[in-house]
Amino acid sequence: MPKFNIYQEEIHPSPLMHTWWEFRKSHIAVLGLWIFAFFVFLVIFGPLIAPFDPLLQNPNAFLVKPSWDVSGSIRHLFGTDSIGRDLLSRLIYGCRLTLGISLLLVVLAMLVGVALGAVAGLTQGVRSSVLNHLLDSILAIPTLLIAIVIVGILGVGLVNSMWAISLALIPQFVHNTREVVRTEMAKEYVLAAKLDGAKNTHLFFYSILPNMYEMLVVQGTMALSIAILDISALGFLGLGAQAPAPELGTMLSEGLRVAYKSPWSIALPGSAIFLMVLSVNVVGDGLRSALRNRLQR
């Protein structure tokens, strides 16, 4: 910068600000972001806002209707389930468990997948194609099926299902990273960077990675919605989180038994999952177009 600044009002927006400006243009994406932020807030501060312990059974209040019903009470805002547990608290803890674990798994899968994909993309010959084609064949199988197979081997339980889902998510990151690295490597600016004396590691982090954000966002949000659905599905099938745990899928399968008497006990966890996946997809879509437009307009 020069010693004195003539144009004091001039600002140089950072890439993040450019992205935010582009993102803000789509109102649906901003709405999605608010919903997603709300869920993330629940993940972080859930225990502070939940009115009851999610496992606490109240013998005086079985199947209390939600507060908007005539016979409902404000004490249990969303009512209680068949053994007298407060549904609101269970939902808050359920979002915490389902979304929190999904976020963790996606970050883990992304780190491992991008690292492997970068190695596969930067190397040539047998090593690269073994890594790639082996994982490509796994891509043909749905992730839930892979997860069920892995759970079948490891045994049921939340931790095992976490391992299973993160393993099932890795191949798509590897595949997409390799594709991007391959196409970027063929471009002229990579040759220019090589002529600057850049070695592979520097090349990847400084030249190729800045051009990969769009792909990472697309794959990341896709993986996040898959992870949420898979965790709930495994919980619903009884392969993931086990019965008393407040996990949205497990809650759904518990509520199914009393669905005729208290439809809200499946409607509420179901809509929580729906809203979560919807907001993730809307935010991901908005973020992708924001990132793309940032470098075009």
């Binding site: 910068m1 001039e10 140089h12 040759l191 220019a192 002529l195 600057d196 004396g197 051009n211 470098l295």
Partner: protein, 260 residues
């Protein structure tokens, strides 16, 4: 004048790729020798596919020659030591648009070569980037810009800045003006000639625009099908071409510019 760059018997043979479906393309550059003095401009001229760009790539080290040597100030350059070479011989690519990374801003585009090749700290790098931007007629404020925010002419200047930032002795430019409109083109040419005069750079131009070559280059090297046809002073070549091929090239150019 001292000899800056000396090229001896440089040749290139494309290794035939093994495989059933791959076409056996074989492009060779037969032995090329020339010399470049400091502050001098050498133009490499020829039709498409004559090996001009290949020769440029061999000079900057993007391709490894199969024979011959390159000497800089009498010192032999190893084909694998890119670091030594990129400090002294820099390339300006044909399409400035594609040779600039779209994902990072100008400060990083210019900063990366400095990080890789010099021991400057962050504030010294900043200073150097500003100076180089000013040198090519851009503003320090352009540091925060991305590729898509710059015009074609500014991109070309940036590409030049990227080549100049390491204080090289030789710049190899592969058709740097091909994509520019005449006014920007002449601006860029004047800029390059001014820089050459100020910094004493050796320039190697790869082009098929005879008008520009005649205007700026001291010597010309004419190539056809990977062979060196003839080389000499620009005036001599343009007025008294020795080979039939050169004569044809020049006549076709003359017929374009002389009014009928």
């Amino acid at each position: 004048m001292t000899t800056l760059l000396r090229v001896e018997d440089l040749e290139f043979k494309q290794k035939p790729k093994r495989g059933f479906f791959k076409k056996q393309s074989k492009f060779t550059l037969s032995k090329v020798s020339f010399e470049l003095n400091a502050g001098e401009t050498l133009a490499i001229l020829g039709e498409n596919g004559s090996g001009k760009s290949l020769l440029g790539k061999l000079l900057v080290g993007a391709e490894v020659p199969s024979g011959g040597h390159i000497y800089l100030n009498g010192q032999k350059l190893s084909p694998y030591n890119l670091k030594q070479r990129c400090l002294n011989i820099r390339m300006v690519f044909q399409h400035s648009n594609e040779s600039l990374n779209p994902g990072i801003n100008v400060a990083k585009i210019l900063g990366n070569p400095l990080i890789l090749n010099t021991k400057l700290n962050a504030s010294e790098r900043q200073k150097k980037i500003e100076d180089t931007l000013k040198l090519v007629g851009l503003l320090p404020d352009h540091m925060f810009f991305y590729r898509h925010m710059l015009s074609d002419g500014q991109r070309q200047r940036l590409a030049l800045a990227k080549a100049l930032i390491l204080d090289p002795q030789v710049i190899v430019a592969d058709e740097p003006f091909a994509a520019l409109d005449p006014s920007v083109r002449s601006q860029t040419i004047n800029l390059i000639m001014k820089l050459q005069k100020d910094l004493g750079l050796g320039f190697i131009f790869i082009s098929h625009n005879l008008g520009i070559i005649r205007h700026i280059s001291d010597r010309v090297l004419i190539m056809q099908d990977g062979n060196l046809v003839e080389t000499g002073k620009t005036d001599v070549i343009f007025n008294w071409p020795k080979s039939e091929y050169t004569e044809k090239l020049i006549k076709s150019h003359q017929s374009l510019i002389t009014p009928r």
